[in-house]
């Protein structure tokens, strides 16, 4: 039981790291109704900008706002050169544009900052908390707890932003119908630039934590793969959904990795380990059968 709990808690904490990446997707989806294929590339670009500024001599406290500035510029440029011409186009056209953007960012980032694998030291070591280890014989990492706290804080902030600010409400209007939002005087261009900048900030936080854990390198773009089942489960439009989806995916994939392969090996023979690569997707797809809009997603009703 103690081992089961340890695996589950470890999974929940990992899930929060997935949620951080999923949050960026949710923001863009809420503003433009499109899945931003470039979110993984943005995480990579943000982390590389942060570590690049630090390499140029900026201390961490300065590099962080500088990297945010770079992400804001990227957001504004995305709006100006990619999205502005796409107003009122079908979502698939916007989606295709984000695929192009993703390849562009993946090429631009190493061109600007180099392709070497870098270490990012944020002053927090990924090691177990001794007190919990001594008294409960469970490994709970300081780093994971910090990341979870940060993610929860970010979610609370974003939820308040969407719910209680004019910009947040305008953003929801834009997501529903670009042209209708424009006709009642909502400045679509500003809203999109702003939301891409906020998504850039979320990407920066995610990139900082994932980069501090695994090194700043191209593989950060793969973090998007972990976020997709979280989105399907939590709903593409819900900020709290991204967190709850992350927790469910994180815990279930870890438990599945530990407990399912021995069962399958008992029946079929062979080694069935490594299922956590695809298990979250199967789970999310099964979930779609029951609740297509996700746990917290908005139910879509078309009146005839």
């Amino acid at each position: 039981m103690q081992f089961f709990l340890e695996v589950m808690i470890g999974g929940l904490l990992s899930g929060v790291m997935y949620s951080l990446v999923a949050l960026g997707f949710v923001l863009i989806f809420k503003a433009s109704g499109v899945l931003n294929f470039a979110q993984g590339a943005m995480v990579f670009f943000a982390a590389l900008s942060l570590v690049g500024c630090m390499e140029k001599g900026a201390p961490f406290w300065l590099a962080l706002p500088l990297a945010f500035g770079i992400m804001t510029l990227l957001g504004i440029a995305t709006e100006k050169f990619v999205l502005r011409k796409m107003v009122n186009q079908p979502p698939i056209a916007l989606f295709m544009a984000t695929i192009g953007l993703s390849f562009f960012i993946e090429g631009l980032a190493p061109m600007l900052w180099g392709n070497e694998v870098r270490r990012l030291d944020i002053g927090l070591v990924d090691e177990p908390i001794p007190w919990i280890l001594d008294n409960w014989n469970m490994v709970i990492s300081k780093f994971d707890l910090f990341a979870s706290g940060l993610a929860l804080g970010l979610v609370a902030l974003l939820a308040l932003f969407f719910q209680y600010t004019r910009v947040g409400r305008a953003l929801r209007a834009v997501a529903d119908d670009h042209q209708a939002a424009l006709s009642i005087g909502i400045p679509l261009q500003h809203i999109w630039a702003l939301v891409w900048a906020v998504a850039g900030f979320v990407a920066l936080v995610a990139g900082m934590l994932w980069g501090a854990r695994n090194g700043v390198q191209f593989a950060l773009t793969f973090t998007a793969l972990k976020a997709l089942p979280v989105l399907i489960l939590g709903g593409f439009t819900s900020v709290p959904g991204a967190i709850v989806g992350g927790l469910i995916i994180g815990a279930s994939e870890k438990l599945a990795e530990i407990y399912i392969p021995p069962l399958l090996a008992g029946v079929f023979g062979g080694n069935f380990g490594g299922i956590e690569g695809w298990f979250p997707y199967v789970m999310a797809l099964l979930f779609l059968l029951i609740r297509p809009e996700g746990l917290f997603g908005e139910k879509h009703i078309d009146r005839v």
């Binding site: 695996v7 270490r119 990924d126 080694n271 380990g273």
Partner: protein
């Protein structure tokens, strides 16, 4: 007078035209062309930059020293991004240039090597796979054009077991070893060899796969914590390596009890892991450092002349840079071997280069002449043994650099090579290939 001038002008023009026409032909005849399907961007771009930087620097170095007995080396790079489809595309694009006088092809990718194995055989172009790729091609009787040179995953795994056995006082009986591997063809390749070793040495082998890309290993390491193994053998690539080291630290598993394969043992794998990598050991078939005379001379000669391939010169002397140099040394030596038989100062054709690769004899004396003593082990290939060495060294990361721990360790050849031969013969039967009689080669 005017007529004579016209005649002279015509004669001179003709002579110049003939010379100009003859010059490229003469140059082409004296050039050995290397197609280089490299990767410098994409997920493993950092690894590719160091490896291909070293590879090209050595080719430049040879050219600056007068070529291979006067034959200059030409090359063309093509970006694969470590992607199999792009690797095949590069091969198809460059193969016509390589058909006359090729250099061995190095993809530094097991996937691309698999994709090119049949094509290279059909096109009669030699494919080198140093420490990766199709390992059953050690049996050259079935695979005349494929060369898994120096050593293979299986021999490396066997050498690691030998190292751990020595570390455990000469016996692994009753010990528990976890094999943590990238869940791909690359990671699965040494499993049979490790299973054979576990039966022979009576240790328990626990195989734990990690799904690609391996940037999350919480569950795997929780299982390792539960199993309490004596050692963990790490078989990762890219981000999987540093994630393993960081997660080992998180779970409190001593890094001194972790031994990696050579794709888990470069600076790119340990520097980003910071203190979590300190004390970690890995196998390698080439050493790091600039104190090898050849590497120091490349820096002086090639970079001194401003012809170096690396933008970031801090990579000079790293494991992967030196591996690129080692790969190029073996390629050039194969052409030199061929020249010794088929004619010095001539560009070698595909069959001749293949012969050179199959009759390599890189002795300690030759390595010393090249300034490469200790850089890589002695290599002696033959028709029945396209590997030629099977030796690795163990190195430990001290937090700043790789420190060699052992001399060259050879895997259990008597146990491992029959596995290659069995696989190769099975393959030959399936494909209807009649193996060559190596006693006649």
């Amino acid at each position: 007078m005017i007529k004579r001038f016209k005649q002279l002008t015509l004669a001179t023009s003709l002579a110049v035209a003939c010379f100009a026409a003859a010059l490229p032909a003469a140059q082409a005849a004296e050039e050995q062309f290397f197609m280089i399907p490299s990767y410098r961007v994409g997920p493993y771009g950092a690894n590719g930059q160091s490896f291909y930087g070293g590879f090209i620097d050595y080719l430049t170095y040879v050219n600056m020293k007068g070529g291979i007995d006067g034959v200059q080396i030409a090359w063309e790079e093509c970006e694969t991004e470590y992607n199999n489809a792009k690797g095949v595309e590069c091969y198809e694009r460059l193969k016509s240039k390589a058909q006359k006088a090729p250099g061995p092809i190095h993809t530094m990718s097991t996937g691309i090597s698999y994709a090119l194995a049949d094509k290279a055989t059909a096109d009669h172009l030699p494919l080198a796979m140093m420490g990766y790729g199709l390992t059953m091609a050690v049996d050259g009787s079935v695979f005349p054009w494929l060369f898994p040179l120096v050593t293979t995953y299986q021999m490396q795994a066997s050498a690691i077991v030998k190292f751990l056995k020595d570390k455990s006082g000469g016996s692994l009986e009753g010990k528990k070893i976890v094999y943590l591997y990238h869940d791909s063809a690359y990671g699965k390749e040494p499993i049979l060899a490790l299973q054979a070793e576990s039966r022979l040495n009576k240790f328990t082998l626990i195989e734990i796969p990690v799904a690609h890309p391996g940037n999350e290993q919480g569950a795997q390491w929780q299982r390792i914590r539960q199993e309490k193994p004596d050692y963990v053998i790490l078989w990762g690539w890219g981000v999987m390596n540093m994630t393993a080291l960081n997660t080992a630290q998180k779970m409190g598993f001593p890094r001194e009890k972790m031994v990696g394969g050579w794709w888990s043992g470069s600076e790119e794998d340990v520097i980003p892991a910071g203190d979590a990598a300190k004390g970690y050991t890995s196998a390698t078939w080439n050493v790091a450092g600039k104190d090898v005379p050849l590497i120091a001379d490349i820096e002086k000669t090639v970079y001194g002349a401003g012809k170096g391939n690396l933008k970031d010169t801090s990579k000079l002397g790293t494991i992967l840079y030196n591996r690129g140099v080692s790969a190029a040394v073996l390629s050039v030596e194969a052409i030199r071997t061929a020249q010794a038989k088929f004619g010095k100062g001539k560009a070698m054709g595909p069959e001749q280069v293949r012969w050179g690769l199959e009759h390599l004899n890189l002795t300690e004396a030759r390595l010393k002449e090249l300034g490469a003593t200790g850089l890589l082990p002695e290599v002696k290939t033959s028709c029945s043994n396209h590997e030629g060495s099977g030796k690795v060294k163990m190195q430990q990361w001290d937090g700043k650099k790789w420190v060699p721990l052992t001399d060259w360790i050879e895997g259990n050849k008597a146990l491992i090579h029959p596995l290659f031969q069995a696989d190769a013969q099975k393959y030959a039967k399936e494909k209807g290939i009649t193996p060559r009689d190596c006693s006649k080669e």
